[in-house]
């Protein structure tokens, strides 16, 4: 099948539709606008509903209603809007409802700006709202991967009855790359016996996150913890790039991982043994990617569009066995390949490694 040239934001929309998503609730915010524009046209074509909400707070609660009623549903926003959604995401996690939330991360804190950033990493991976919960977080790095991961996002949400966040940035949303869409398949959405769709002669169903008796809430928390442990053991995903014989390993996700691939190529051309780990799941964090490298590499260099957030997860994975360095740009500035190469050269084979 012929490739088509698509913007990342549009690919999110098309990927969602092809994953069987028929409901979108959202509030406008830059830099994800092409996604609602696309779905406002596309969803009615497939008998779905696109609804612009009065706020991000309302949007996430509409998602809660639609998910509880058994739909494959999504919303999308960026930084400030995602912050507003956090209470709702906590409810979704507590009530164990599947849904997909897209965050095209922009610069913060506060109104920040609309330029690309990765500074919502903590918020995404630590459970940005209240209470003990986890959200599965996927970080695509190309327009093609967006299409593939949107399907995975909805499947994981259903499999674990858990919210899944797709974390990108303004660059990923705005850039165009050719994608192979493949044949549109008839997606079978798994049965949802728990959904509150009206009793229709059956048992009463309840969508709820309130457990007023402490013993009961503790049991619920422990049940969620078992689920999160299962996800952590089964769903770690990452890409390895030129790790063969690497002495210095870059770690980066999303757009920054693309820049780091160029860094790796350039370093290899100059004879420096540099490789890259690109986490695809930010939660669960791909700790398994690091184990085979222990004792075989000199050090790690984490590159992010933030002041250093994922670097903490790398340090947890490495657990003191190798130095973990950090290089970041923030405020919407991109790490430039040449600067990262400089940083690599500073560290490569140097003191402290």
């Amino acid at each position: 099948m012929a490739k088509v040239l698509m913007k990342g934001n549009e690919a999110i929309g098309e990927g969602a539709v092809r994953a069987g998503c028929r409901y979108f609730f959202g509030y406008p915010i830059t830099p994800q606008s092409e996604l609602p524009h696309y779905l406002a046209k596309r969803l009615p074509e497939v008998g779905g509903v696109y609804l612009q909400s009065e706020s991000e707070t309302a949007a996430i609660n509409m998602v809660y209603g639609a998910a509880g009623a058994g739909a494959r549903v999504m919303t999308s926003s960026s930084g400030p809007g995602i912050s507003l959604m956090q209470e709702g995401i906590s409810y979704l996690a507590g009530a164990e409802l599947p849904c997909v939330i897209v965050n095209m991360i922009r610069g913060g804190p506060g109104l920040g700006n609309i330029a690309p950033a990765q500074s919502d990493y903590f918020q995404a991976t630590r459970g940005g709202g209240h209470g003990d919960y986890r959200v599965i977080v996927l970080a695509p790095a190309s327009v093609q991967e967006i299409i593939d991961l949107m399907r995975l996002a909805f499947d994981l949400a259903d499999r674990y009855r858990n919210p899944v966040m797709v974390a990108g940035d303004g660059i990923l949303g705005q850039m165009m790359e050719p994608v192979e869409l493949g044949e549109e398949e008839d997606v079978q959405i798994p049965p949802r016996p728990w959904a509150a769709t009206g009793r229709m002669g059956g048992e009463k169903k309840l969508i709820n996150s309130l457990y007023i008796v402490p013993e009961e809430l503790e049991q619920h928390n422990l049940k969620l913890a078992r689920k999160y442990a299962l996800i952590a053991s089964k769903e770690q995903r990452w890409e390895e790039y030129r790790l063969d014989g690497a002495r210095l390993v870059l770690v980066a996700f999303g757009t920054v991982a693309r820049i780091c691939k160029a860094v790796v190529d350039r370093c290899r051309e100059e004879g420096l043994a540099v490789g890259l780990i690109r986490p695809i799941t930010l939660w669960p964090y791909p700790q398994k990617a690091f184990e085979p490298l222990m004792g075989k590499v000199d050090s790690f260099l984490v590159v992010e569009m933030s002041l250093g957030q994922m670097v903490e997860d790398v340090r947890l994975a490495v657990n003191g066995r190798h130095p973990v360095h950090f290089y970041g740009r923030c405020g919407g500035m991109l790490p430039v390949a040449a600067d990262v190469v400089q940083e690599v050269k500073k560290l490569y084979g140097g003191e402290g490694n």
Binding site: E54, T57, A58, M62, G65, A71, V73, Y91, T197, L210
Partner: protein
């Protein structure tokens, strides 16, 4: 022997947590009776709020959602958009609907969402300990207006039925009271009309029910009903603020 009074099918046979003299029980019963009468029990989905009626999901025997504070109209929107042939209602108090959830209720009404809202106005936050609500009357003492609500500090009570009835998306808006049997019967009629409006697909429907909170008002149940009639009804006039030609 003919049974003349029984528990509605749509209510569970369990004790509620409501205080003596609280009128939530009456309103629950009216909603349940209407669901029974319209024979929509099997396809009705309710949304409970945060507040005293948070446990409404335990009392109504239909499928239920528990929503975050103020967001029941957004949750109901999501449900109804996915399941347009089901009957959806929210049950919300005045803190939930008229303070934190003002945005959601106004926009659900403006969109003409085809669900029914039961709005309990008892002029106080009850579950959290008797604080001032957006509907608290001027001069009314609460735990956060110990000297009485002062317009210069707290502004004026919010009249939801009047506000929402001017929106084009609303099809039926009524304010009723449950302080005596005659008014309870009228309240039941209004609730039934609201559900009928939804069933006819005419748009958004809301019934505001003036309700008593003896515990937080510091009155006996009988005094509370009298206080409601003498103080709330003059500020919150009863009646149908909007109704489509097709009903009543």
């Amino acid at each position: 022997m003919k049974k003349v009074f029984t528990r509605p099918r749509s209510l569970k046979d369990i004790p509620t947590h409501y205080c003596p003299g609280c009128t939530h029980g009456i309103v629950h019963r009216l909603v349940a009776e209407v669901i029974d009468e319209l024979e929509i029990f099997d396809r009705t989905i309710g949304v409970a709020p945060v507040g005293c009626s948070v446990f409404a999901y335990n009392y109504f025997d239909c499928d239920m959602f528990q929503a975050s504070h103020g967001r029941a109209p957004a949750v109901a929107t999501g449900i109804k958009r996915v399941l347009p042939d089901r009957v959806v209602f929210t049950y919300q108090g005045d803190g939930d609907l008229a303070a934190i959830g003002t945005g959601e209720i106004v926009h659900a009404a403006a969109r003409g969402e085809k669900f029914t809202v039961i709005f309990i106005n008892n002029a106080i936050y009850a579950m959290t300990g008797g604080q001032m609500a957006p509907t608290t009357l001027l001069g009314q003492k609460t735990t956060t207006t110990p000297y009485g609500r002062d317009k210069d500090i707290n502004g004026y009570p919010v009249k939801i039925s009047e506000m929402l009835s001017v929106l084009d998306g609303t099809a039926y808006v009524a304010r009723v009271s449950v302080h005596d049997p005659a008014h309870v019967i009228k309240a039941r009629k209004a609730i039934k009309r609201a559900f009928e409006v939804q069933l006819a697909g005419l748009g958004f429907s809301l019934v505001e029910v003036l309700s008593a909170c003896p515990t937080n008002w510091g009155l006996s149940p009988a005094e509370a009903l009298k206080w409601l009639a003498e103080n709330m009804i003059p500020y919150y006039p009863l009646g149908e603020y909007k109704k489509p030609a097709e009903v009543g």
